[in-house]
């Protein structure tokens, strides 16, 4: 048998009908995660055709995008906090899931959170699964060696009705990352550097597999940060081979297998890493030993520089100029020292316990600078409880930051958590697109450490300098 990559093994294991020259593969989906924004119209289609949800038991729902990050006492509070349309969207979601018998982690569950945070922390995200969600950051789950990708609402309907998708087999892109990271440099900096290297369309048509000694040394939460932003490099999915770190993370989680089923699952997971000699359509290699913390300067995640670097020279490209004009930055000038209005620490990229610990390590015993608004939003209610048990919330509030309920929040500003026109926000989220955090808002993507450094100094700052003090 030919040597297969991790992706090929998962793909082969889920082909209900193999693809032909004329027809796409019918691919079975093991886990369908759903949230309130991209599902209402899919349920509408099923209802209008009289179709049931085929596998409610393989579907897991939560509320994250339109939800408030201030506490609510009852659903009646929603209208005032997020507005009537978002409140209606949440109610429709609750009704749809109740009618279909889909497990919903709602406001009362204590386990609600960002869809890409709760899957892993509950242990339902597992190696070798196919996982989809109507959200492009579904690539996050690939950190476990799952084939996980975002789909549109029509496809959400396909999965609800048939538990399958029609798919053409994508190409593979191996990204080899080697070198030992310096202090103050982390997973977010690696993935921003990768996107800077391959470009925002560089992974189009491909599934990425991240490999190499640096990746192997990362924790699961760091691996999730890397896979999360695969889509920012154009790849729908990014995967990392399961290993002891993966298995150790999953052991004992509420929805992970247990007993004999656990042993069987681990045996299966151990066979997933690529065979020696497996081939990839493309390979890219990156040495991160000298990597600095990375920040974006423009309006897509590929417009990224080392924090101590300068914005690239003007090439005369109209898109580049438009981007710099929107951001209010100048070609050839540093980003360091620019005043900051808002700091957002959260999102499916960087809202897990280790991210919050990193931010707290810099905020401990320090104060948020002057007029900077700092919002810290845990990825899930579970993360929130864990952080509070460690006293991280008190570190944040003592420093002058806001500590909120979980949700997508200011990553995309759907719930009213927005950045005002012209304001500069250093954000641990994944997209610095124009208007992403609010109309006219300017976003600089960075790691939790770099974001915390900006909170303390009120300027774009190198976290390594604060760590050294």
């Amino acid at each position: 048998m030919t040597a297969r990559s991790l992706f090929e093994k998962v793909w082969d294991d889920h082909q209900v009908v193999a693809e032909t020259a004329d027809t796409p593969a019918v691919l079975y989906i093991d886990l369908h995660l759903i949230h309130e924004v991209t599902t209402p119209e899919a349920f509408n289609v099923l209802k209008s055709r009289g179709l049931p949800v085929r596998r409610p038991d393989l579907t897991l729902a939560t509320l994250d995008h339109s939800t408030p990050t201030l506490p609510i006492r009852s659903l009646a509070d929603l209208d005032a906090l997020v507005g009537a349309p978002a409140a209606k969207q949440i109610r429709v979601m609750l009704d749809n899931c109740r009618e279909a018998g889909i497990r919903m982690l709602d406001f009362d569950s204590g386990q609600r959170g960002i869809v890409h945070v709760i899957g892993p922390e509950l242990g339902i995200t597992q190696p070798g699964k196919t996982i989809v969600c109507g959200d492009s950051h579904t690539s996050t789950h690939g950190a476990f060696g799952a084939l996980a990708f975002g789909i549109g609402t029509t496809e959400v309907g396909h999965v609800l009705a048939t538990q399958c998708l029609l798919q053409r087999k994508p190409k593979t892109l191996a990204i080899n990352v080697n070198g030992r990271l310096a202090r103050g440099v982390g997973a977010k900096d690696i993935i921003l550097a990768i996107i800077g290297r391959i470009g925002v369309g560089g992974g189009t048509g491909h599934v990425i597999e991240y490999r190499g000694e640096t990746i192997s040394a990362l924790s699961m939460e760091q691996r999730m940060t890397i896979c999360n932003m695969s889509i920012e490099g154009g790849a729908r999915a990014g995967m990392i081979a399961p290993d002891d770190t993966t298995i150790g993370y999953l052991a004992g989680r509420p929805l992970a297998p247990s007993g004999a089923a656990w042993d069987q699952a681990v045996r299966r997971w151990r066979a997933l890493p690529a065979d020696p000699g497996a081939r990839y359509d493309r390979e890219v290699s990156l040495d991160v030993a000298k990597l600095a913390p990375m920040i974006t300067f423009g309006t897509n995640p590929g417009m990224v520089i080392p924090i101590d670097g300068a914005v690239p020279a003007d090439t005369g490209d109209a898109s580049f100029r438009k981007s710099l004009q929107y951001m209010g930055v100048e070609a050839g000038k540093p980003m360091l020292g620019r005043p900051v209005d808002v700091v957002f620490i959260g999102s499916c990229t960087n809202s897990r316990l280790s991210d919050l610990r990193e931010a707290a390590s810099l905020l401990q015993g320090r104060k948020v600078s002057g007029s900077v608004k700092v919002m810290i939003v845990p990825g899930s209610q579970t993360v929130k409880q864990q952080a509070e048990a460690e006293g991280l919330d008190r570190v944040f509030t003592a420093a002058g930051a806001e500590w909120r309920e979980s949700g997508c929040s200011m990553c995309l500003g759907m719930n009213g958590d927005t950045v005002a026109r012209g304001q500069l926000c250093v954000s641990t989220s994944n997209r610095n697109f124009e208007g992403r955090q609010g109309i006219g808002a300017r976003t600089v993507l960075a790691s939790p450490l770099t974001a915390a450094a900006a909170a303390v100094t009120g300027r774009i700052s190198d976290p390594r300098e604060l760590l050294a003090r």
């Binding site: 004329d22 079975y28 509408n44 396909h158 897509n300 995309l412 500003g413 759907m414």
Partner: protein, 194 residues
């Protein structure tokens, strides 16, 4: 879904590279529970100023753009979020095809499911189209090509199944539902259960 064999329309040009789905439909319009009426939200932050008035310098607001059914965009169109609201908004506005040198995977998939034709062309053809806004272009799904006013044609990639679905107005859910016996067999026969 309507059947699409070929159609001819004038182009409107947005030369910006990497136009993401947050530009096509900003997130604040996603609190809807229906696909209808999203044309008003199309490119909202580029189309309207802070007072909600149309910006006269934006291509879609210019008189020549009225009735244009083909969007020619810079490299790598549709990157970012999976929101199907993006093709819904383009279709609702009256755009039937998007032409670029590259179109992001999820946006492309979503477009094909809704009858918005994603057209990826070579750099020369693309450069010519960017430089000649408002020309009449024929998008031929049957021939998998576009025809320019001077009679030149440029092919674009479209797999056989997607082409069949566009030509026949086939809804892919119907095709998947026909596979239900194979799906049941797969569920029963697999070595492990999720």
């Amino acid at each position: 879904m309507d059947k699409i064999t070929r159609f001819t329309s004038r182009t409107v040009v947005l030369p910006q590279s990497d136009i993401d789905t947050d530009q096509i439909v900003p997130a604040r319009f996603l609190t809807t529970t229906t696909r209808k009426g999203l044309g008003q939200a199309l490119f909202a932050d580029w189309r309207y100023d802070s007072a909600g008035q149309p910006r006269p310098d934006f291509a879609l607001n210019q008189p020549a753009a009225a009735g244009c059914g083909i969007l020619v965009a810079g490299h790598n169109f549709g990157c970012g979020s999976s929101r199907e609201h993006a093709p819904w908004a383009l279709l609702d506005y009256g755009i039937g095809a998007v032409i670029s040198t590259g179109i992001a995977d999820i946006f492309r998939n979503n477009s094909l499911k809704n009858g918005l034709v994603p057209v990826i062309v070579d750099a020369d053809t693309h450069g010519w189209l960017l430089a000649h806004p408002g020309v009449e272009v024929t998008v031929d799904v049957d021939a998998r090509s576009i025809r320019l006013p001077d009679g030149r044609t440029a092919e674009f990639p479209l797999d056989g199944f997607s082409r069949y679905c566009l030509l026949n107005g086939v809804d892919q859910l119907g095709y998947l539902l026909q596979q239900s016996e194979a799906i049941t067999r797969f569920e029963k026969a697999r070595a492990w259960q999720p």
